[in-house]
Amino acid sequence: MEIFLSAIFSGTSRGAIYALAALGLVLVWRGAGVVNFAQMGQAMFTTYIASTLIGHHYSYWLAFIVALISGGILGAFVDLSVMRPLSRKRSSNFLDSPAMRSTIPVIASLGILGILQSGAGIFWAAEERGFPTPVNSLGLVIGGKTMPFTAFDLFVIGTVFITLVITTYFFKGTGMGLAMRASALNPEVARLSGIKIGSMRTLSWTISGVASSLAGLLVTPSANLSPSTLDLILIIGFTAAVVGGLDSLLGSVIGGFALGLLISFVNVYDTPEDIFLAILVVLLAVLLIRPQGLLGSKEVRRV
């Protein structure tokens, strides 16, 4: 029983982080039509910034805020320096087919990932570091048993929930959110409606940068910080986003928790070596059986 509960609890707390990573991916996919494979690289980079500040005895919360802001700036920079020039080039003969149009940004994002990882290597990678939590991380006691579930885990879940509510409200309840959705869904009609789609794209990269930066800050305490720390989170986050439906915010969060539990149960009742296989199986199963995911809308995009 204790082991079962522990599997549930650690699955939930990891799931919250996967949810956040998935949310970041969905934000850029919805806002700019790009799956950003550099996302967790950006998160890693901003976590290093936070870690450096904390190392210089600044408070956690200052470092936290600075990391989120730099996450936003980094996201915007990625868009302005690479993705926007790329979308302008869409008339070139290498980008004229839909297949290549969706492939080229993926390749570009891998290049960005490479730059961020090697950059972090140059700046910071001589030593391995940990990363602190803002609140105490002693396990919750249930019936005299300490569970792998801490105040920090609650903090993470709370943060994910708040992020979900804010982003959902932003998209559904504000004009800016509507403009962002419109530009992603149909750039031409959006432009004819007077929406500055370039700015909207940049904005979604910015918001996603903040969300991923948040994911980085929250996931790193349970691992160690190194340039490639968060690669795995990207892969799990992607799978979570696909499971939930790549265009659904709520779906991505549900997908994140589902993946967290799945991985936790594979880990506890099978073996950690099977985690990657389990991820692959789930991903393929969803894509082949229900390609739009749990909550994705069917007609949005062919996978």
Partner: protein, 436 residues
């Protein structure tokens, strides 16, 4: 089975080696070139990336004292990122471009195995490899030029396993091991030593290190739920730190933690926890009482003459990005120290065959910072065959557990664990051993 193809090629080629005069590559009248392969970037690099700088610092020290028979030692280092595909290329670069005389201190079982056959086939000395995989050393006919730079995992597990069985005969013993060759080798070693584990209950594994330490909390909960009182951790130092910290969060306080020597590094332990906001005083408290085995003195034991001398050399000569004194630095220095000794011992007419034969014949008499005897002989290329059991005190120093240090020795086969009376040779005045 896996090694069969390699064997056939290597044994064939070695007999065909030309008789070498003093014209082996990498040796001139003024210079000896050595090569080292290790992960300097990428996920596996933290910690290990200090070994080359430490070794180079020692060689620079030797050079500042006039070198070896007037020859300065130059250490060429290649980053293989812990990817075997790159190890092959970087070995070729060291052999063909830098024309190294010998390899020293290459790090990693899974990387080194990709080049060991080729290095041996060419008759290049492959000195003091930083891998505890006994398959490299126990049969010199297979890898005639390869010598260990660590005690084997099997020897260590047998010694620690026997200690646990003798000291805590009634306690429930469990193991937390990382999911890779090192973790599995350790599990196997402790099983050989007579400890028995039950998968998923008292033997649990996790994905360690920078990939996010997946499942650590659940695995520790499993150990806790199954009433494990003695927990052996077989993981790299950073993952060990995270494991101990996670257990504390879970309120899991086993009677004893036992950490393998690979994972027992006080500096890494404190650095990792320090960057998580744990003060040095608290992390020292977490470390206190943890049992580990070592073939070397504790890096924190500055009363040890080797430690003191090496630390001074490190301060003066290390130009690496992170030169903080720890096990990795001590190990790097010690390998360079032993290499220097062997180079001196071989004589001014330095050849590859010469140095191999010197280590095979005189290796067991060589000195090193290690408190353990060296197992080098014509029939075995194992390095440290003895370990002493210690526990960390409150000041992060590994101290002999019974007050006086007892060395236990055994082999990588099925031989018994016995007490060793080995006495380490004293450190030469200039901290440079000149060989027999």
């Amino acid at each position: 089975m896996a090694l069969v193809a390699g064997v056939a090629v290597s044994s064939l080629a070695v007999t065909a080696l030309p008789a070498t005069a003093a014209t082996d590559p990498g040796v001139t009248s003024s210079e000896i070139v050595l090569g080292m392969q290790l992960p300097q970037s990428g996920p596996a690099s933290p910690g290990y990336n200090k070994v080359d700088d430490a070794a180079r610092a020692y060689f620079d020290y030797v050079n500042s004292k006039g070198g070896i028979y007037g020859r300065k030692v130059r250490l060429e280092v290649r980053d293989d990122q812990y990817k075997a595909g790159l190890t092959v290329s970087s070995a070729s670069s060291l052999i063909n471009k830098d024309k190294v005389f010998a390899f020293i201190g290459s790090i990693g079982t899974q990387t080194h195995i990709s080049v060991i056959s080729d290095i041996n086939r060419r008759g290049i000395p492959d000195l003091f490899v930083n891998s505890g995989y006994s398959g490299f050393y126990t049969n010199p006919k297979t890898y005639p030029t390869t010598f260990a730079g660590l005690g084997t995992y099997v020897v260590e597990s047998k010694i620690v396993g026997k200690y646990i069985k003798d000291t805590y005969p009634t306690k429930k013993v469990g193991i937390l091991y990382q999911t890779d060759d090192f973790g599995r080798n350790a599990l196997q070693g402790f099983t050989t030593a007579g400890l028995s584990f039950e998968a998923k209950k008292t033997a649990v594994n996790f994905i360690a290190g920078t990939q996010g330490s997946i499942g650590l909390a659940s695995q520790l909960t499993a150990l806790k739920a199954n009433g494990v009182e003695i927990v052996i951790i077989a993981a790299v130092a950073s993952a060990t730190a995270i494991a101990v910290a996670t257990a504390a969060q879970l309120g899991y306080k086993p009677d004893k933690w036992v950490v393998t020597s690979v994972g027992a590094d006080a500096t890494t332990f404190q650095t990792i926890l320090g960057s998580k906001g744990v003060t040095p005083a608290v992390s020292a408290g977490m470390l206190a009482g943890i049992i580990s085995a070592s073939h070397a003195p504790s890096p924190g034991d500055t009363t040890d003459e080797y430690v003191a001398a090496f630390k001074k050399i490190n301060d003066d000569f290390n130009k690496g990005p992170d030169k903080r004194w720890d096990n990795n630095v001590l190990q790097g220095m010690n390998i360079a120290y032993m290499a220097t000794e062997a180079l001196f011992g071989t004589g001014s007419n330095l050849t590859r065959k010469g140095i191999i034969s010197y280590i095979e014949n005189n290796g067991s008499k060589m000195s090193s910072a290690a408190l353990s005897p060296l197992g080098y002989s014509r029939t075995s290329h194992e390095a440290f065959t003895a370990f002493w059991i210690g526990a960390y005190d409150g000041a992060t120093v590994l101290k002999p557990i019974t007050g006086t240090r007892v060395l236990y020795t055994t082999d990588s086969g099925t031989g018994p664990v016995t007490v060793s009376n080995y006495m380490r040779p004293a450190l030469p005045a200039d901290a440079i051993a000149k060989g027999a």
